[in-house]
Structures are given as structure tokens and as C-alpha cells.
Symmetry: C2
Subunit: 232 residues, 2 copies
């Protein structure tokens, strides 16, 4: 992945700048750039919460410096009306597409976000390499600035996925073996056996059991077996 | 897609409730449910902005009513520590996985979000059908409530993708034909021709040209041809 900076162009409300810093840090991004922002004070610090470091280390740059320094510039814009097909904001890509487009880049990428009231000016978009539009409802397509930043950061994040141990092939086969024995034990009729066996394979196949779950289910069957033993 | 409701359990700050309503509407969701919320006043209305309707139509329910009424309940939780592997918050799925899991459901789905300070209680998570965790940075994994709502809504939204006319096969073949003629016209050496032709196919293939772009490139070549004609 490239080195990604989030650039806020002339943000009007410091609360949004603070929230943007917070959601950046939530997804592992720390490089914030501010172009001619509103005064940044207590409200921004409060909204940034534990991302005060991101806020404090924000760089001040001009739009010209951004286009001079970054290898690739992505401009985020609102949905354009369908009839417009000028090169200015076309073609545009969804955040997930932009993720693919920048994934293999070695270099610096700036993601530009415009003002809360009227977004990015044409002169700011003009030199952008890629246009990104978050698909939104026509009923109300205007996202709050920090929510737009959050969605881009969420898509562009490269965080290790938390893992939990899924039961492996050997454990699953032993489990199905036990299920078969259990069916025998409860005198499950032979003529239904094949279909039921397949149904159980489908059911537990799509469920993708964890080791813990398999072990609990073994335990439940063993208990039932014990009680049936006792009764006989 | 199922009918999805966003459920905020005991939210503490009305600003977050307003922002949640706004970002829901941004992605086409209108069903907000509040469980024992803080007082909802002017601050919430201001943050909701043009999603006042979502805020005003929010239903008040109890957690028991939610588990009684909805066909499927998804509880969102923060990242759990790796050592914990109890069934309470395991296994968990990322928002994109939850999207796939609920995509084909005909029915009602509730997505639960916990309090700003300590999330969902075990007794609220206990009966949940699916656990969803937004992958976040270990440096600061706690998202603002409305940003978490925004990311779930973004993933679960089923909005028509905006479209623009990509050049079709016929236009692209005519374009490559013109490129070939242009190479002839500028006496491009025959022994390089094959590789250059392939390079141009790869280049414009991955670029996925729009009709507009193809037409502009034709125009540029025609102009160059005209100037070369004049000169000869």
C-alpha cells in the first residue's frame, strides 16, 4: 500500500476536523493535511479524543504544494447529475474501486475532501488523477465531512483481520462421524439417512464451526448418549 | 435485501443520534430504533440536518421487544482481545461479511449499536444471531457511534451505482484501427509495430475509456494528421 494522507480543503467546522482525525486513527491513518482551515481549538481537540496526536501533527499546505508533492491525488466529490459527462468529475470510482487502484502503488497518495457547504472547486479537482464518489442515496446524498473521511479510511485501511480458530478438516470429519453414530443411537430410519446426512453436512458446512463450537456439540451428544445408556 | 433497522441502545449524546440519522439517510436507510436514549433535542435535530424525518420517526423499543420482533439481530462490538474465545462475542464478522450473510434474507434485521462509553452489555449481546466487528487499529479501536453506524450503512446499502458510458467493443476497435493508421502516418518502424500495438491495447484496455474520451483522442489524432498533411 502507498503512504496515504487525508487532505481537508478549507474545512469550516473544527468539530469535523477533530472527528476526521479520530476516525483516521481508528483505521490506522496518521497523516492529516489541512489547507486553509478554520481555527482549530478546544472543540476539535474534544472530538479528536484519543487522536489528539493526529490533530497536533497535521501539516498545513497549499493546494499547489499538494499537487507538487504527492505522486497521486484522489479528489472526492458528491454524486454528479447523470446528464453531466464532462471530464472534470468523470469517470468516477467508488471507494472500493479506489482501494484496488492504489493498492499496488509505491509512493504518496493524497485523498482530498472539500468544504462542508460546497465541496471541492473545479480548480481544485482539475488536476486530480482519480475522482472518487461515495455512492449515496438520491434522497440525501450529502455526507458530513468526517463521515466521508471515515468511509474512505475504512475502505483503504489495511488492518490485519482478527482471527479465531475454525475447525479444520480432521475435526469436522470426526464430528460428522460422531453425528452418524448419534443417528444410529437414536434409531434414525435407514431410508432417511442419506438425505439427513447431506443436510447436516450442508448446515454445518455453511456455519463454519469454530473448534470451540465443535467441542461443545460433541459434548452435548455425549451427554445425550450417556442418558440414553442409563435408561436402557 | 431484508428490511434493516438501526438500533441505538442507550445513546448518551443526542449529537450522535442526529449524526446517525443523517448518515443512515445518506445510504438510504430510514428505520431508526432508540432504546432508552438520552433526551433528543435541538442538538440532535441540527446534526440530523436534512434527515430530520428519520429522527422524528424513530421508534422507541425495549431490548426484549427487539429480540421478540426482529427475524435476525446483528450486534456490533469492538475488537475483542485475541485470547478471549468465548461464544459471547465469537465468532465475529466484518461488515462486508455481514452484508453477504444478510443479502438474501426476506425479513427484518436489526443492527444493534451500544453506548458511547462501554458498548453493548453481555445480556444485550447474548441473544444476538450474528456478531459484527469493524476492523480497527489497535492504536485506537474505539469509533465514534455515528461513524460506526455510517460504516455499517455504507456496507449494507444497496444503491444503484452511478453509471457513465464506457466505450463499447465497436468503438474501441475503431479507435485501435485509427491508432494503427496513425502509426503508419508517422512512419512508426515496422519491426516495433507488434509490441507497440500490444502496449497500446494494454494501456487503453486497463484505462477503460469512456465514449467521450475516445472521441477526444480521435479528434487529437485527426488534428495531428491534418497538420502533417498540410506540411507534406
Amino acid at each position: 500500500m502507498p503512504e496515504i494522507s487525508i487532505v481537508l480543503i478549507e474545512p469550516l467546522y473544527e468539530g469535523n476536523v477533530g472527528f476526521a482525525a479520530r476516525v483516521m486513527k481508528n483505521f490506522g491513518f496518521t497523516r492529516l493535511v489541512l489547507v486553509n482551515p478554520c481555527p482549530i481549538g478546544d472543540e476539535a481537540i474534544m472530538r479528536a479524543s484519543h487522536a489528539r496526536d493526529v490533530l497536533d501533527s497535521a501539516r498545513r499546505m497549499t493546494i499547489d504544494e499538494i499537487y507538487r508533492e504527492f505522486d497521486l491525488v484522489v479528489a472526492t466529490t458528491g454524486e454528479v447529475s447523470e446528464s453531466v459527462c464532462t471530464p472534470m468529475r468523470m469517470p468516477y470510482y467508488a471507494p472500493a474501486e479506489v482501494r484496488e487502484m492504489v493498492a499496488d502503488i509505491e509512493g504518496t497518495v493524497a485523498i482530498l475532501f472539500g468544504r462542508e457547504n460546497w465541496g471541492l472547486a473545479n480548480r481544485e479537482v482539475m488536476r486530480a488523477d482519480i475522482i472518487c464518489t461515495i455512492p449515496a442515496s438520491k434522497a440525501y446524498p450529502i455526507l458530513n465531512l468526517s463521515h466521508a473521511v471515515g468511509i474512505l479510511c475504512y475502505e483503504l485501511a489495511s488492518l490485519p483481520r482478527g482471527t479465531y480458530p475454525l475447525a479444520g478438516r480432521v475435526e469436522m470429519e470426526a464430528f460428522h462421524q460422531h453425528l452418524g453414530e448419534f443417528l444410529d443411537r437414536i434409531d434414525h430410519p435407514e431410508f432417511k439417512r442419506k438425505n439427513t446426512t447431506i443436510l447436516l453436512r450442508r448446515l454445518f458446512g455453511r456455519t463454519r464451526l469454530t473448534t470451540r463450537e465443535v467441542s461443545t456439540l460433541h459434548g452435548l451428544m455425549r451427554r445425550a448418549e450417556w442418558h440414553m445408556e442409563k435408561k436402557d
